[in-house]
């Protein structure tokens, strides 16, 4: 498995495991480039992995490369249904990654920062969207 996909797999597995064990176990989630049907008149979530650029973060014979990115959850709730449910779902999803570290083998890590929560208003395809963004840094040591 590529290191890039190892990061995706780690994130998706964590979401699936934590959501399955939560009060939101039945919420439909759209993962990147997977077929998905938006449920009518019910909350749903879209997951996006936004990649940024990369740079060498350390010196030495096997330096560490740092890749930055943002994990984004779009929590969509039906119009005129209030924002309580969206807030609860969004905060739960954000808490999964809030200041967490994954893949913590020597030199390789996926470090998340603090989530931000922004209500975006009516979105395409219907519903009102809460955008949850969690910046991350993926450090990979050259082997």
């Amino acid at each position: 498995m590529s290191k890039l996909d190892q990061a995706r797999e780690t994130i998706v597995s964590e979401i699936k495991n934590r959501v399955a064990a939560s009060a939101f176990a039945s919420i439909p989630i759209a993962y990147p480039n997977h077929a998905f049907s938006q449920p009518p008149n019910a909350p749903w979530v879209r997951v996006s992995l936004i990649g940024g650029d990369s740079n060498q973060a350390s010196l030495g014979l096997s330096p560490t490369d740092r890749h930055v990115g943002i994990l984004q959850f779009d929590v969509v709730v039906p119009e005129d249904s209030g924002i309580k449910t969206g807030n609860e779902i969004g905060e739960f999803l954000g808490s999964i990654f809030d200041k967490k570290q994954f893949l913590a083998t020597p030199g390789n890590s996926l470090n998340f920062k603090v989530p931000s929560y922004i209500w975006m208003g009516t979105t395409q395809g219907g519903g009102v969207r809460l955008m949850v963004r969690i910046p991350y840094r993926r450090d990979v040591k050259d082997s």
Partner: protein, 158 residues
């Protein structure tokens, strides 16, 4: 016999201080340039007005909205990769030109990069183009550029 080298020591301290000031100014200069270009490069272009309006100023934010540079048809930009849109080059160049206000002399002033175009918020949040089209840049520009700049600053790449 005791010989004082206080004046030489003071002079070296002064030189060191000046060198650090210059290094810091260079980093500020490079960071502002990096952020300006990164925002422009990540922004999808249709008419060009959003890209045209990334304006860098010193001391006071730019308050206006500039018209796009037309001249060539917009083309079917929804079917084009980011970066190949017909109106990108001229509008991006005009926006980058505003960065010429920045010099290493004024690098410690407040530097603003503003964008007052109507569509910049929608592009940042993956809401545009409008209904019926697939947004070409759900990735946005500002959030990811901030992370890139912070990472580069931490690793001294900037």
């Amino acid at each position: 016999m005791f010989r004082s080298n206080a004046s030489s020591f003071a002079k070296q301290l002064e030189n060191c201080y000046q060198k650090k000031i210059e290094e810091a100014a260079t980093r500020v200069f490079k960071t502002a340039r990096f952020v300006h270009k990164s925002l422009i490069d990540k922004t999808p272009v249709w008419e060009g007005v959003t890209v045209r309006n990334y304006i860098m100023t010193i001391g006071t934010p730019y308050a206006g909205v500039l018209p796009e540079i037309g001249g060539v048809p917009t083309g079917r930009t929804n079917q084009m990769p980011l970066g190949t849109e017909p109106r990108r080059a001229e509008n991006a160049a005009a926006a980058l030109e505003s960065g010429s206000v920045l010099t290493k002399v004024n690098a410690f002033s407040k530097i603003y990069i503003t964008n007052n175009s109507d569509s910049v918020s929608g592009l940042e949040h993956g809401e545009l183009p409008g209904d019926g089209y697939t947004p070409r840049s759900p990735n946005g520009m500002f959030g990811i550029t901030l992370e890139e700049a912070l990472s580069r600053l931490n690793s001294k790449a900037l």
